[in-house]
């Protein structure tokens, strides 16, 4: 085998891992969005009017969601930088729920309404690995562990073949802050000299890990990013955000990572939630064509979103901006579904199935 073969084999493996990471980030969004939209929404984030039902948990989950979207863009940028092609509309790779993340090695996620149990499962998704040693060798069971492995493999590949051999992707494919709608933070472009590209790629992966489980923040909950909310509030990683909801209390930025939050009140009303059925599926709408029609409308929008992302990452970056209205349409349709009682008389409502409709 020539060294060129080995290089391409390594590239193929790296692309495969990053593609999995892309789908992994994508897979977290439907469960988070479903729980968020199931909360009976009365208003937007506003501490001055605490009577507004559940505005705070809605805002906390929304922040996590948009950061997952940013992570998708970051992964796509890294994948494009090494000459890969982000794939977002291959039905064989797209998640159906319930699903076990990381090819069955990770936690199982369901589409469920906003309940303590569901938020606990979100917290599990964003849990930091206790020891990154095994993960570096490919023995990972958490998202953080998976990224630890990817980072290690990318470092190894760069060391073995040289940065210039690895970062061969067209820089025109890099999504910049101008292309992105600014949700969840700054995009990192993997551009410049091979050395700069390597550094940017590593920085991108590190940012994903920090915002997710927040493993490497030096035993302090805050990550120094200031976010909207009570004056000067620092952002915390997703794990901690979900913990805030469960404890009904915000973190103080200097709180220790292994202690409960000690900041201000975060008011959660678990009863102001739509009684959506667990893991909604098309089969449940077989006897309710009117519900099936709204569900199909939702899935058409979801399909358009995935096709649009595929286009944005591979051919036309400007497609990304057009997707913002699609996401609002999906929110509205999801909320509609969650208000319609199922015909089975169970008292539960319909919900979005997040089914991709194209290219069966």
């Amino acid at each position: 085998m020539t060294s060129n073969d080995t290089l391409e084999k390594t590239r193929g493996k790296l692309c495969g891992l990053l593609q999995k990471a892309l789908i992994l980030e994508l897979s977290t969004i439907p469960p988070y969005a479903t729980a968020c939209y199931s909360i009976l929404e009365q208003g937007q984030y506003d501490r001055s009017e605490p009577t507004i039902v559940n505005a705070e948990p809605i805002e906390v989950i929304r922040q996590v969601m948009v950061e997952e979207m940013l992570h998708m863009v970051l992964v796509a940028n890294v994948l494009n930088s090494i000459g890969g092609h982000p794939k977002l509309n291959d039905p064989d790779q797209l998640p159906t729920y319930p699903t076990k993340l990381l090819d069955g090695r990770g936690p199982e996620v369901h589409l469920r309404r906003f309940t303590p149990q569901q938020v606990k499962s979100f917290r599990l998704i964003e849990t930091a690995p206790k020891d990154t040693g095994p993960a570096k060798k490919g023995d990972y069971h958490t998202i953080g562990g998976f990224y630890t492995y990817i980072k290690q493999e990318l470092e190894n590949a760069c060391d073995t073949f040289g940065n210039d051999a690895i970062f061969i992707g067209d820089e025109k494919r890099q999504i910049s802050n101008d292309d992105y709608f600014g949700a969840g933070g700054e995009v990192i472009e993997v551009v410049g000299t091979p050395k700069q590209r390597r550094n940017s790629a590593m920085r991108a992966i590190t940012e994903i890990m920090e915002e997710g489980e927040g493993a490497d923040l030096g035993h302090r909950a805050g990550d120094k990013d200031i976010i909207p909310g009570p004056e000067g509030r620092e952002d915390v990683a997703h794990y901690f955000k979900f913990n805030e909801i469960l404890h009904s209390r915000y973190y103080h930025p200097d709180d220790a990572v292994d202690e409960p939050p000690t900041g201000g009140d975060l008011i959660v009303d678990w009863s102001a939630v739509s009684p959506m059925q667990d893991d909604p599926c098309e089969g449940n709408y077989a006897r309710a064509p009117e519900v099936a029609a709204i569900s199909a409308e939702f899935n058409t929008a979801w399909t358009g979103l995935l096709d649009g992302l595929e286009t944005a990452f591979n051919t036309d970056k400007s497609a990304l901006r057009d997707l913002v209205p699609t996401m609002y349409i999906m929110k509205s349709l999801a909320q509609k579904l969650m208000r319609i009682p199922l015909p089975d008389g169970s008292g539960e409502t319909a919900g979005p199935t997040w089914t991709y409709l194209g290219k069966a």
Binding site: D322, L337, R339
Partner: protein
């Protein structure tokens, strides 16, 4: 709405509402306002009139909705104004009081006053969907939405009734 009769009456209310608005029962429930509108209508109408108002329900939802509405509801001195107020309620989220003549004939209710039922009622008015717009100050469409084609209007191309 716990007893059997209540459920039947509520379903009838949805059926009549669907015929009057042109939106099906699922779409009406999707507004999240159906229960509070039903509550309001029960408060405003005397029981016998409510019963009469819902009585065509078993015949609705088939083929002759338009005919039934034009014959049984709109020209009726009692049911006509109720139907018109209910249509406006679904489309705008606002209850429009029944005319003075109606009150003189059938009695006035202290609940029969002009009123936007709730903040949600405003946002979920069918009018916004019908005109392909969003309620001002709510349900934002997202950056750049103004550059996209408006959603398909009801009654065009893939008309559900065609």
């Amino acid at each position: 709405m716990t007893t059997h009769d209540d459920t039947i009456a509520y379903d009838a209310f949805l059926t009549v509402s669907a015929a009057l608005t042109g939106y099906n029962a699922a779409e009406l429930q999707a507004t999240g306002c159906a229960a509070e509108y039903w509550h309001h209508v029960q408060q405003v109408l005397p029981e016998d009139i409510l019963k009469k108002f819902l009585s065509p329900a078993p015949r609705l939802g088939k083929k002759d909705d338009d005919k039934i509405i034009r014959e049984s509801y709109l020209p009726d001195r009692c049911l006509g104004p109720v139907a018109r107020s209910l249509i406006q309620l679904w489309y705008t989220g606002q209850w429009v009081p029944l005319p003075q003549e109606w009150r003189e004939n059938y009695g006035a209710s202290r609940f029969d006053v002009v009123k936007i039922i709730s903040t949600r009622a405003y946002k979920e008015g069918l009018v916004w969907d019908a005109i392909g717009a969003h309620p001002q100050g709510a349900k934002q469409q997202g950056f750049g939405a103004w550059s996209l084609e408006p959603p398909k209007q009801r009654g065009q191309a893939d008309d559900r009734n065609s």
